[in-house]
Amino acid sequence: MIKKWTIAGIVYLLLVIGGYGIYTTTFQPDTTPYMEEKNH
């Protein structure tokens, strides 16, 4: 039971990260203004 939930959590997290990666490399949204503001 514990193992099942742990694997499900990690897999889902990786899917979200992977999905975001694919999205950004495909559409390349411009995040520069925010990062500049944050790092300022």
Partner: protein
């Protein structure tokens, strides 16, 4: 209560707080035919008294399910033999389905197997097997199942909650990481760009909200359906508000710069994670507080070697029936209660009586299940099996005590029942004040304060405060051989200020021995003793048994008795070989107008020595006297001193005369003696003390003291737990030692103190938390953590009772 009232226990799952327990109680009580319903949140168990003519167990179970909770049942498989056709399997199925406590029974003819779902607190596997056998077929528990330990549903619950916690923690941590970027003092921490994206946050928060948080929505729905509100309502309201508001902002940000929006996904996700963590700790702690029962159950042997059809075979304990001959090798546990039919051995009974010295047992002696056979091979005949064994009775008493409610808990239940609606009201007011007055127009800020109020106000700690302490306290007491019958007795015991001790069997060993024989000149000693012994043989009084044993030791033959009558408090009247015999007290002799003036001096001397002299008359004339003396328990003196040091008034009560009583009392240090009291008079003496405003505990061996035990504020029975004593008294002291009385009072004091601490902290926590949250000093996630912490701290405080040293 009418005679026809039945009592049943249901194991219930799905309760989250005291409000749930109250709701089930109310729902059950509304049913026709239900006289009393008690729900214990910590044990997840309900005990119900109902009239079987009006309602039945399935109706009760259905009601619980209607209210939105589950009734836990057990499933077992049985191998059925002797079925030849479909009609047979239908017959077995119908027969089983008719039994009370069985939810469903399915019989598969091809597999020769019956799958039965049943309520283990109503019906046992043995009962099911018996029913099948009564129908004319053979039944055995499926082989692999008989060896398999019953799966503990609590353990499964812990595992499920652990899994859920890990899952939601994995998804909440990135959200928490993103959140630190919002604070000015933690802005230096690097936050990956990805986690700031509202749609990534949405993707992470959604499963937590609806997969892990489903239990809160379901719980809230069930509660609202039944027109009440519980902690699930608070959690569902709080987290949904945060989640859906963030979702709205996410949509609103489409087209603009999504990263600059302040979102609250982490509030809902972290909150759910923390509440699950709290529940996980709670489930673990609850499991630990029922350890006492597990320990007791662990004492039981798992299998027994029985002799059937001339063959030795090992069977599971469930299959042993009364009358079976059981083989017990040295070092093995005796599986069930029985009597020795062959062999002799020393038996270690320490697990039940606390007495560490093994007891020698021989042919015809009783043995108790779960005690250990030390050194000899014995065969025993089973006399009590299953639910009737001494150990099963002890487990039942402890379970009932742990499941019962102390009066102090009713208050907590009432408070938590009305708490939730009030909190929702306060939360709404908080929102309105913030939105219109403090930060006009700032919806997010006002929402955040409202969520914090909703979350901090959850009354879980309040609901757990009393039952966890009662469980831990009574469980710990049971380990020392002190069985409280209910929470109310555990609460009452600490108020005791007077202790009445019965003499025989309580202060003394209750095993007197024959010490002196004085026949008059007209009798030869042997003849005199033969007459007395024959008459006393019929009596079950301990003094009579001592006389008979003493006479038998001298090799004197006993005669047949034509008639016998016991006159309680006076003595006996019997006819032996045509002679009319009276054996007993002065009062008996006076009653029959027998002159005893010559013997009074001798009698006084014996009584001054603490001996009990019994006068004997034959055919209306005084014939002599016999004296017996009881020995005082080694521990009695120290125990009485301990009670006195605790500031208690210690009184000894006995049917013996003043002199004997005073002599014994002086030896153990008791100043206050009530002597020459008839069995029914003991209850009156208790009432007299109560009339003086005293809280009285009566301690006795439970048989002749039963009325006094019942009348006293607290009745304590001394015994091994095998006799009627356990029924009559509020507390059973399994160890014969009087130190148990002080231990019981001490344990009660500790438990009540613990309950008060718990109630104080739970209430203080809620009442302090709400204003702090309303004023805005508490972030929602911090409120969630505090709430989880409060439940855990209450449970941990209760668990301290398990470490109490007596």
């Amino acid at each position: 209560m009418s005679q026809s009232v039945k009592e049943t226990t249901l194991q219930i799952s799905g309760m989250t707080c005291a409000a749930c327990a109250v709701r089930i109680e109310k729902g059950l009580k509304k049913l026709d035919g239900v006289e009393e319903a008690n729900v214990n949140l910590a044990l997840e168990r309900s005990s119900i008294k109902f009239d079987p003519a009006v309602t039945n167990v399935s109706a009760l179970e259905n009601k619980v399910r209607d209210l939105g909770y589950e009734v836990v049942t057990e499933k077992s498989e049985f191998d059925i033999s002797g079925m030849t056709c479909a009609a047979c399997s239908t017959r077995v199925e119908k027969g089983l389905n008719k039994l009370e406590g069985i939810s469903s029974a399915n019989v598969n003819l091809a597999l020769e197997r019956a799958t039965v779902e049943y309520n283990p607190s109503i019906i046992s596997k043995t009962d099911i097997i018996k029913k099948v056998e009564a129908l004319g077929y053979g039944a055995h528990l499926k082989q692999d199942e008989s060896k398999q330990e019953a799966a503990d549903h609590r353990q499964q619950e812990v595992e499920r909650q652990t899994g859920k916690f890990i899952f939601s923690a994995i998804l909440s941590l990135p959200l928490l990481w993103a959140m630190v970027g919002h604070f000015s003092f933690t802005a230096f921490i690097y936050v990956p760009d990805m986690f700031m994206n509202p749609w990534v946050q949405f993707a992470l928060a959604t499963p937590v909200q609806f997969v892990i948080g489903k239990q809160f929505y379901v719980g809230a729905y069930k509660a609202l359906k039944n027109k009440s509100a519980n902690m699930d309502v608070l959690v569902a309201l709080g987290t949904s508000a945060a989640y859906f508001y963030s979702l709205y902002l996410s949509f609103a940000s489409i087209g603009g710069n999504a990263h600059t929006v302040e979102l609250y996904y982490e509030t809902s996700a972290v909150l759910i994670t923390l509440i699950i963590l709290g529940k996980l700790f709670e489930a673990r702690a609850k499991g630990r507080s029922s350890e006492a029962i597990k320990k007791l159950m662990g004492l039981q042997a798992k299998t027994a070697v029985i002799e059937r059809d001339g063959l030795e075979q090992e069977v599971s304990l469930d299959e042993v029936i009364v009358g079976d001959i059981i083989h017990v090798k040295p070092g093995e546990k005796i599986p069930v209660d029985g009597i020795i039919v062959e062999g002799q051995s020393a038996i270690d009974e320490s697990m039940l009586t606390g007495e560490s010295v093994p007891v020698d047992k021989k042919f015809d002696d009783e043995v108790i299940g779960s005690t250990i056979n030390k050194n000899g091979f014995i065969k025993i005949k089973a006399t009590k099996v299953g639910k009737d064994t001494a150990l099963a009775q002890i487990i039942k008493v402890v379970e009932e005590a742990q499941g019962s409610k102390a009066p102090i808990q009713r208050l907590a239940d009432q408070i938590s029942g009305i708490f939730v609606p009030i909190v929702v009201g306060i939360a709404l007011i908080t929102f309105l004040i913030w939105y219109f007055m403090v930060v006009p127009g700032d919806f997010a800020e006002a929402l955040e304060k409202m969520i914090a109020v909703l979350v901090i106000a959850c009354p879980c700690a309040l609901g757990l405060a009393t039952p966890t302490s009662i469980m831990a306290g009574s469980g710990r007491a049971a380990e020392f051989g002190i069985l409280f019958k209910g929470g109310e007795h555990l609460e009452m015991t600490h108020r005791i200020n007077s202790v009445i001790l019965d003499k025989t069997g309580t202060v003394t060993n209750g095993k007197p021995v024959l010490t002196d024989v004085f026949p008059t000149d007209s009798f030869v000693e042997a003849e005199f003793l033969s007459l007395v012994g024959s008459a006393e043989k019929q009596s079950e009084h301990p003094l009579a048994e001592a006389i008979v044993a003493g006479i038998k030791e001298q090799g004197i033959e006993l005669k047949d008795v034509q008639s016998f009558e016991a006159i309680p408090g006076f003595g006996i009247k019997a006819t032996v070989e045509g002679k009319d015999l009276l054996v007993g007290t002065r009062k008996l002799m006076n009653k029959y107008e027998i002159s005893i003036s010559d013997s009074l001096e001798k009698m006084d001397t014996l009584e001054r020595e603490g001996k009990t002299a019994m006068l004997v008359a034959v055919d209306g004339k005084f014939a002599g006297m016999v004296a017996v003396a009881d020995t005082i328990k080694e521990t009695s003196k120290a125990a009485v001193k301990r009670l006195k040091d605790m500031g208690l008034d210690v009184i000894m009560i006995t049917g013996d005369n003043q002199q004997t009583a005073k002599s014994i009392a002086a030896q153990v240090g008791i100043d206050h003696v009530i002597a020459e009291v008839l069995p029914e008079g003991k209850a009156d003496e208790v009432k007299k003390l109560q009339a003086e405003g005293k809280k009285v505990a009566m301690v006795g061996d439970g048989i002749n003291d039963a009325p006094a035990l019942a009348v006293a504020d607290i009745g304590m029975a001394i015994g091994t737990g095998t006799d009627v004593a356990m029924e009559a008294a509020d507390i059973t002291l399994i160890r014969g030692d009087l130190n148990s009385i002080a231990d019981a009072i001490f344990m009660s004091k500790k438990t009540i103190k613990n309950i008060k601490q718990n109630l104080f902290w739970a209430l203080a926590y809620n009442s302090l938390g709400i204003p702090i949250a309303a004023v805005g000093f508490l972030a929602p996630w911090l409120a969630g953590a505090a709430m989880a912490f409060s439940s855990v701290s209450v449970v941990l405080n209760a668990l301290r009772l398990q470490k109490v040293k007596l």
